[in-house]
Amino acid sequence: MRYSYYPGCTLKTKAKVYEDTTLQTAKALGLEMVEVEEWQCCGALYPLNTEEHFSLLAPVRALSQAKELNHEKMVTLCAGCFNVFKRTNKAMREDGELRRKINDYLEEDYLGEVDVVHYLEVLKKDIGFTAVAEKVKKKLEGRKIAPYYGCLLLKPRNEMDFDDVENPTIFEDFLSALGATAVEYPYKTECCGSYLSMANEEVAETAVGRILKSAYKSGAEAIMVACPLCKYNLEEYQKQLQDVAGENGKMSVLYFTELLAEALDV
């Protein structure tokens, strides 16, 4: 199976391990990822107002590039990119006015022909978690992992259509395919503070603290994420764990692809 692939800025630098493990595991699973040419930053955030249409030009250009690669689907990984692309694509499909405005700036019209998918969706729907489980060489048995979804994969509810907003299960199903145990805790979809860690650190720190402590108390030894910013925040404020885990309390934060790479032994 061949896919267009949009890595995004963070995966080329701070989250290199996310990209590396993705490409290694994809290869092991027989998937071919063809990187979109000349892609630019997607803008990181979907504009939440009626006036900033033109910040969608960058993601639409990337989608348009992906369309030229002639693959049905474009895979993304970073939850921020996924959120921007999924929503941009939906808007291009459904909002005629926006479509007209944006296409005025493109050489060839883009009408939402490409499907935007997350790598996890590829694993779940195209390969199937059962088939993934069959390829696992080193079962992650006994590993108690807290799935942490964050916000961007799931919300807004009627635009992302990724999983149940309140009780998602795709991370859990993925973990059980790898043989690991998913820990149940109430903060798995609670926001980590997102960009507040850039300018309102104390707010992000408190938000992160609640997630870390709750996961720790539920017996998790690591947290699984799909978003570089979630990972940064959860790692940055580990001292919040001291209350419950003692002075040297630590909780590792791993991309789901890192766990997959480990289980597939690549």
Binding site: C9, N49, T50, C151, T189, A199, E236
Partner: protein, 134 residues
Amino acid sequence: MKITTEKINSNLVRDVEEVSGQKVSACFQCGKCTGGCPVVWAMDIFPHQVLRYAQMGLIDELLHSKTLWICASCQTCDSRCPREVDIPKVIEALRLIIMREKGGNYLHPNDLPARVRENAPQQGLVSAFRKYAK
């Protein structure tokens, strides 16, 4: 703080509705947004109050609120709102009103601690500057 006909009828309410694409009058003040907001404890005006202030034309008061810079746009509130009001969009509209004024930026690159500047992922930096500066 006083509610007057002038305030309720002010153009500012219409500006907010236009920029956000949201009808603030749709809110019936159930508070579900506030109850679920993960960072509400750091806000001075709660999300449901943002809508109430907007309905009552208390836009000036909103423009001076900490809340605008605390909201992380996580969209937990709008995913539960029974009236289909996208509150992060309303808050973004208010932020834009401020930032479009000269000197309205909330964040300058120099404000970032060196630790953050070095370690933070691009995703976080780009997000922050898109939210906090024009």
